[in-house]
């Protein structure tokens, strides 16, 4: 306690030197919280959007289904029967059927994934109610990205070609009943959604599905030959990208933290040389060398505590403002293939703040300790004269 008290006194007495170190370290502290908050906010938003728009509470996949292999779609479907049929009826799960198709917007051709979804489903947010038959061809919905790339708008008609279960080509016009705005590119880019019943009818895959999306009541586990993929599995791509982003970002803020710590280290090294007389005086007044080392080390700790207080003073209003207004994201980040909204709203968890506080305090204490260790070898009689040893 005395050590901390004396360290506080020394630092407040040192004036500008202390406050410069405090400012640099507090800046690093705020930046670390901000960048991690951004990534956590992005991660949360991506997780929630993916869950709400496509993942539900997990999915039951056909054994052959692989979302990264379009050729699997030919075989990755099976009749909805038995136990799983009961679950569909009780709306615990909702089926999705996928096939490959092509559309011909503006005279060009675009390959798409044609997805069928129950018009009555309410498990995910896709506005499937818009797919109810209006008697004007096959109603289809697409996402905003797809609409932009194919230059389609609501009410447009476009020719669509597909193969039925026997491999026979067929074609009809679809009309765009709705364009939804989702932050999840995996349900949008290159995809057209139509009614499940319609897709089953035009492909001849009556009562068949590729996978099912589980609702809140579903408790998990495989059903018959359908393999359950939980949220952890479905989010692994997001997790992998986030980990990669975090490690990349952490390099930046670690560099910033290292610069701040270097300033403290530098100050401490200089202090041990410059304050020889003071060190000698402490020892002459009855302080053990260990306690003197403790004071110098505690000075680094106190700088970090002051930096955190300063960081909280200007960081809280600043970070709260950013949390409320969000950070606009450039359109190009859609290319990551991740769920990302127009704005990212950072999320600052207590765990993030506490871990950053600990990181700053512990690292500042360590870099202060190393130069201070020299004090234990100082000859007090030489130090009293101010001789550099």
């Amino acid at each position: 306690m005395i050590t901390l008290k004396l360290a506080f006194r020394n630092l407040f007495g040192a004036g500008l030197r202390t406050w410069l170190n405090v400012f640099v370290l507090s800046f690093a502290f705020v930046i670390i919280v901000f960048t991690n908050g951004m990534l956590d906010g992005w991660n949360r938003q991506a997780y929630n959007d993916t869950k709400n728009w496509i993942a539900g509470n997990g999915q039951l996949w056909h054994a052959s289904y692989d979302p990264y292999d379009p050729f699997c779609l030919q075989d990755a479907h099976a009749p909805v029967s038995g136990k799983i049929s009961q679950m569909v009826k009780s709306r615990q799960i909702t089926p999705v059927l996928i096939t490959q198709a092509s559309i011909f917007p503006g005279g060009g051709m675009q390959n798409i994934l044609l997805k069928g979804i129950d018009t009555e489903q309410s498990i995910i947010r896709i506005p499937s109610a818009s797919l109810k038959d209006s008697g004007d061809g096959i109603p289809a919905i697409i996402g905003k990205r797809m609409a932009a790339s194919a230059k389609l708008k609501i009410g447009d008609h476009v020719l669509m070609q597909w193969r039925d279960k026997n491999g026979t080509f067929d074609a009809r016009e679809i009309f765009i009943a709705d364009i939804f705005s989702a932050n999840v590119p995996s349900i949008d880019n290159g995809q057209v959604w139509i009614s499940l019943a319609e897709l089953q009818k035009i492909t001849g895959l009556q009562n068949e599905a590729t996978f099912f999306i589980a609702g809140a009541q579903y408790t998990g586990g495989d059903v018959d030959n359908w393999k359950f993929r939980d949220l952890k599995f479905l989010m692994k791509d997001i997790d992998a990208v986030m980990k990669a982003k975090k490690s990349g970002t952490s390099m930046v803020y670690m560099l910033l933290l290292a610069l701040a710590l270097l300033a403290i280290f530098d100050t401490q090294v200089l202090s041990v040389f410059r304050r020889q007389k003071e060190i000698g005086t402490y020892i002459a007044l009855g302080m053990t060398r260990g306690k003197v080392v403790g004071i110098f080390t505690a000075e680094g700790t106190v700088i970090s505590i002051l930096a955190i207080i300063a960081g909280l003073i200007y960081g809280i209003p600043l970070l709260m403002l950013i949390q409320n207004t969000g950070i606009p994201m450039p359109g190009s980040v859609d290319d990551y293939g991740l769920a990302i909204s127009d704005k990212i709203f950072p999320y600052y968890s207590m765990g993030l703040i506490m871990s950053t506080v600990l990181l700053v305090i512990i690292s500042a204490t360590i870099v202060s300790y190393f130069p201070a260790r020299r004090i234990s070898k100082i000859n007090p009689t030489e130090a009293l004269k101010g001789k550099i040893q």
Partner: protein, 235 residues
């Protein structure tokens, strides 16, 4: 003055490494100091005064012989034990005052009491009393940079005396002061020596200080040349 020896120095020598060889700063010193003495080590520069004070103050250890201070042989004390000896029983006064520049006068004087873990009330009372001894109660909030040399040395005296030590070691306390201030601070120490029975040992070659000493030990080339008890020192 009591007959009890507060310091016994027996056959003490101190060697320092100097280049390839050794330099002997103190040769076979034998001295005894009694409680309440106002004694001075005098001699030219390099005669070993400061070295002897440092050993008595347990800031250094003898190469040969022993120095027993308040019943403890300084050579055998651990770092912690010698720190405790200095903290509780020994006050230091230095030529260059060695005040902590970022502390106020009050905080400088308070420092030793903080180490002794005295509570705030006890510290405040003791510090104000010590500042009253040296006539600096009005400067308690000043920092050393705002004080004159004489005032700084009076703060150093207050800092040495605030814990009521048995022994005060003063190394050239008047070397940086003018004649008036030199007299003033030595008179202050003499008064404290009388009133509190504190033993003072000086290292000095200032004749103004010598007039007040009741025992003068002359060191020449690290040996005791003379050890004279002064019959009627100045008060």
């Amino acid at each position: 003055m009591s007959d009890n020896p507060i310091i016994s120095i027996n056959g003490l020598s101190k060697h320092f490494r100097a280049g390839a060889g050794d330099f002997t700063a103190l040769h076979d010193i034998n001295l005894t100091f009694r409680m309440g003495e106002f004694a001075g080590l005098i001699g030219p520069s390099g005669s070993g005064k400061t070295t002897l004070l440092n050993i008595i103050g347990s800031l250094d250890i003898p190469s040969e012989g022993e120095a027993i201070v308040l019943g403890k042989s300084v050579a055998t004390l651990s770092h912690k034990e010698s720190a405790m000896l200095r903290n509780i029983h020994i006050g230091f006064i230095f030529q260059t005052y060695n005040l902590l520049p970022v502390y106020t006068v009050f905080e400088n004087v308070e420092f030793a009491l903080l180490l002794q873990k005295k509570n705030a009330t006890q510290r405040k009372k003791a510090v104000m009393e010590a500042l009253e001894w040296v006539g600096l109660t009005d400067k308690e909030r000043s920092r050393p940079a705002q004080l004159s040399g004489g005032e700084c040395q009076r703060v150093a005296i207050a800092r040495a005396m605030v814990k009521r030590p048995s022994l005060v070691l003063a190394d050239e306390p008047s070397a940086n002061l003018d004649a008036k201030n030199s007299h003033h601070i030595v008179q202050t120490m003499k008064r404290l020596n009388r009133e509190l029975k504190t033993t003072f040992i000086f290292a000095t070659h200032d004749e103004k200080v010598m007039k007040y000493l009741d025992r003068i030990i002359t060191l020449i080339d690290g040996r005791v040349d003379k050890d004279i008890v002064v019959e009627s020192p100045k008060n």
